[in-house]
């Protein structure tokens, strides 16, 4: 049991089959998890009870929390610090499951139903990176928590031009979906009129690009099977992936249901590439420059505002300000108010910790706003490190971080000012609507 204690010490995600066989672990070496997998398998089905109605959600103890998500025939488990909101871990597990479906389709269910002894690791071989990448992304970015994608901020005219280019593809009608993205952010997308790509499917596609270096490295084009659970959970689509412009990382994904659609899609990509004009590319390159692709909250001139996260429900898109490198909290000299004694000199680690901590804070607010019976619409919390305001409306959610001594009224005023700006700049900040194929 000593080995199992180690597993509870760090931060891990692992997946097992409902037979208690290990499938995947972020720490690698699933086989080392055999005993623990068996134990968890038994635990989950025991908790379920004879009626099968009960589900084990989480277990907490010793400052650690173990979160379970059951997606028959798979059990997903996250081990985290108990201070992290359980909801975030559960969302992460949900997306790890979606990633497995993206890679293998939902027919894993049929496979395990026919043969419960089947070792899924045989099918998942080589995809560790994709699953681990999703876990890391869920930790450091808000996409998974909000079910929303980030978009490259673009002048409206430039975004419209990319849209026009995508619609040209439709003459090759084998194309089901077309997606343009750069640096893991959406530029534009086109889909059938009543079947826009769902946010989870877009998140999976962006994750696939991020975690498959082979797709990016091949200068020319790639052809990969991909399952989009939101569209057709039991089947593969085929994706043609190509880089249109290396300097801006502009990548085109064309998806078709036809396994022999490669030539069609290749032709569509060539036609699109030819029409890509210099000025459009130039605008995109400027937009994805490191200091331009994320909004700097401090540059908006809004008092007390340090960071914000905005969800646009209609667009299923979010705007996440650049995470600050570090937070100057309340003076640390004053009688030990803060537990943050270890000052990290590594600014990257700093920004990552700050991102993670802010997202945790937003997730707690979000949980309260959505979970409360009193149908709260605004929530304000402050501690020594920062003040956080969350508001949830019909069309949006907005989370803002402020200086720690900021009052609720000040934070509210700042958030209103920010909201006006976001609404004014909506067309620049995000893709308001996916384009629909004509006809």
């Amino acid at each position: 049991m000593a080995a199992e204690a180690d597993w509870l010490a760090g931060s891990h995600v692992f997946v097992l089959s409902n037979a208690g066989k290990p499938v995947f672990s972020t720490a690698g070496g699933e086989a080392d998890l055999s005993s623990l997998s068996a134990l968890i398998g038994a635990l989950i089905s025991f908790a379920r009870g004879p009626s099968g109605a009960d589900e084990l959600q989480s277990v907490e103890g010793g400052g650690r929390r173990v979160v379970f998500v059951v997606r028959e025939p798979l059990y997903l488990v996250a081990v985290t610090d108990a201070r992290e909101p359980a909801a975030r871990a559960a969302r992460c597990l949900h997306y790890v499951h979606l990633s497995i479906v993206r890679i293998l389709t939902g027919s894993i269910e049929k496979v395990l139903a026919r043969d419960a002894t089947y070792d899924l690791r045989a099918l998942l071989g080589g995809t560790d990176r994709a699953l681990r990448g999703m876990v890391e992304h869920a930790r450091s970015r808000p996409d998974v928590m909000l079910d929303a994608v980030p978009c490259v901020p673009l002048p409206s005219a430039t975004r419209a031009e990319f849209g026009r280019l995508l619609l040209l593809v439709q003459s090759e009608c084998a194309v089901l979906f077309a997606v343009l993205c750069a640096h893991g952010m959406l530029v534009s997308a086109a889909s059938p009129r009543r079947r826009p790509l769902s946010a989870p499917d877009l998140i999976l596609l962006l994750s696939m690009l991020r975690t498959s270096p082979s797709l990016r490295a091949s200068a020319d084009e790639s052809w990969v099977p991909v399952c989009l659970p939101g569209f057709a959970p039991s089947a593969f689509l085929h994706a043609h992936v190509s880089t249109l412009d290396g300097a801006s990382d502009l990548t085109l994904l064309l998806l078709t249901h036809s396994a022999d659609g490669f030539e069609h899609l290749k032709a569509a990509r060539l036609a699109l590439g030819q029409r890509l004009s210099g000025p459009t590319l130039h605008a995109l390159r400027a937009a994805v420059a490191p200091d331009a692709r994320e909004v700097d909250a401090s540059s908006l001139g809004i008092r007390t505002l340090r960071h914000f996260l905005f969800l646009d429900r209609a667009a299923s898109a979010h705007v996440c300000a650049r995470f600050p490198r570090s937070t100057p909290g309340l003076a640390t000299g004053s009688g030990g108010a803060d537990a943050d004694a270890d000052t990290d000199t590594d600014t990257d680690t700093d920004a990552r910790d700050e991102a993670s901590s802010l997202l945790d804070g937003y997730a707690v607010l979000r949980g309260e706003l959505h979970g409360s019976t009193a149908s709260l619409s605004v929530l304000f919390v402050a501690d020594g490190r920062r003040a956080l305001l969350g508001q949830s409306g019909r069309e949006h959610e907005l989370y803002t971080a402020h200086d720690p001594l900021c009052s609720k009224a000040e934070a509210g005023a700042a958030a209103q000012q920010l909201l006006r700006w976001l609404q004014r700049e909506r067309g620049m900040l995000l893709l308001e609507k996916q384009l629909a194929w004509p006809g």
């Binding site: 089959s17 409902n18 037979a19 208690g20 066989k21 290990p22 086989a31 055999s34 005993s35 623990l36 997998s37 068996a38 134990l39 398998g41 038994a42 989950i44 089905s45 025991f46 004879p50 293998l104 389709t105 027919s107 894993i108 496979v111 395990l112 026919r114 043969d115 419960a116 002894t117 089947y118 070792d119 690791r121 045989a122 099918l123 071989g125 080589g126 009608c173 084998a174 089901l176 059938p192 009129r193 009543r194 079947r195 399952c227 057709a232 039991s234 089947a235 593969f236 689509l237 249901h257 036809s258 396994a259 194929w437 006809g439």
Partner: protein, 204 residues
């Protein structure tokens, strides 16, 4: 693509007190204790072995023999690659109950080919001088159940245990499916709610 290490789920079943946990502990940890401690629910241990060229991780599910812990049911048996039936050669009842353990397992696990499922029978505690169940009797039962391999063992004196578990691993490995049963659907657009795009495509 196949993982180098094969994982085998092995379930140990049998009446309470026949020595299931002792057998597992002897095999995995090379330890034996005379003290009896009833297993609550289940215990899980793993052992890595090499069978010919293959590395095998044995995931051993040691179950509680006492009836009050039998509620784990399906989850317990699901996806087992092998099942070890244990009785105490000194207690007739534990041998007579093998039938119901075997049936219970087949019912709950629902293996694809119950006739060919790899069981192994262990007659344990041969170190004690109070044998009731003869080797002949045990062998004849095993033969009647499609020739289940039979071993007389002692967890205490470490008799036949390595040998038994090696046969367990070999027979379970022999069960490995040859055919690939993974076959995703193809998208049939006529099934999709949006008939529009299907029509568009039919037009080209």
């Amino acid at each position: 693509m196949a993982p180098k290490k094969v994982l085998l789920k092995v379930i140990i079943l049998g009446d309470s007190g026949v020595g299931k946990t002792s057998l597992m502990n002897r095999y995995v940890n090379q330890k034996f204790s005379n003290q009896y401690k009833a297993t609550i629910g289940a215990d899980f241990l793993t052992k890595e072995i090499q069978v010919d060229e293959r590395l095998v991780t044995m995931q051993i599910w040691d179950t509680a023999g006492q009836e009050r812990f039998q509620s784990l049911g399906v989850a317990f048996y699901r996806g087992a690659d092998s099942c070890v039936l244990v009785f105490d050669v000194n207690v007739a009842k534990t041998f007579e109950n093998l039938d119901s353990w075997r049936e219970e397992f087949l019912l709950q696990a629902g293996p694809r080919d119950p006739e060919a499922f790899p069981f192994v029978v262990l007659g344990n505690k041969v170190d004690l001088d109070a044998r009731i169940v003869s080797q002949k009797r045990a062998l004849s039962w095993c033969q009647s159940k499609n020739n289940i391999p039979f071993f007389e063992t002692s967890a205490k004196d470490n008799i036949n245990i390595e040998q038994a578990f090696e046969v367990i691993a070999r027979n379970a490995l022999a069960q490995e499916r040859v055919e690939d049963i993974y076959l995703p659907d193809t998208v049939d657009l006529s099934d999709q709610k949006d008939k529009q795009s299907a029509q568009n495509c039919a037009a080209c």
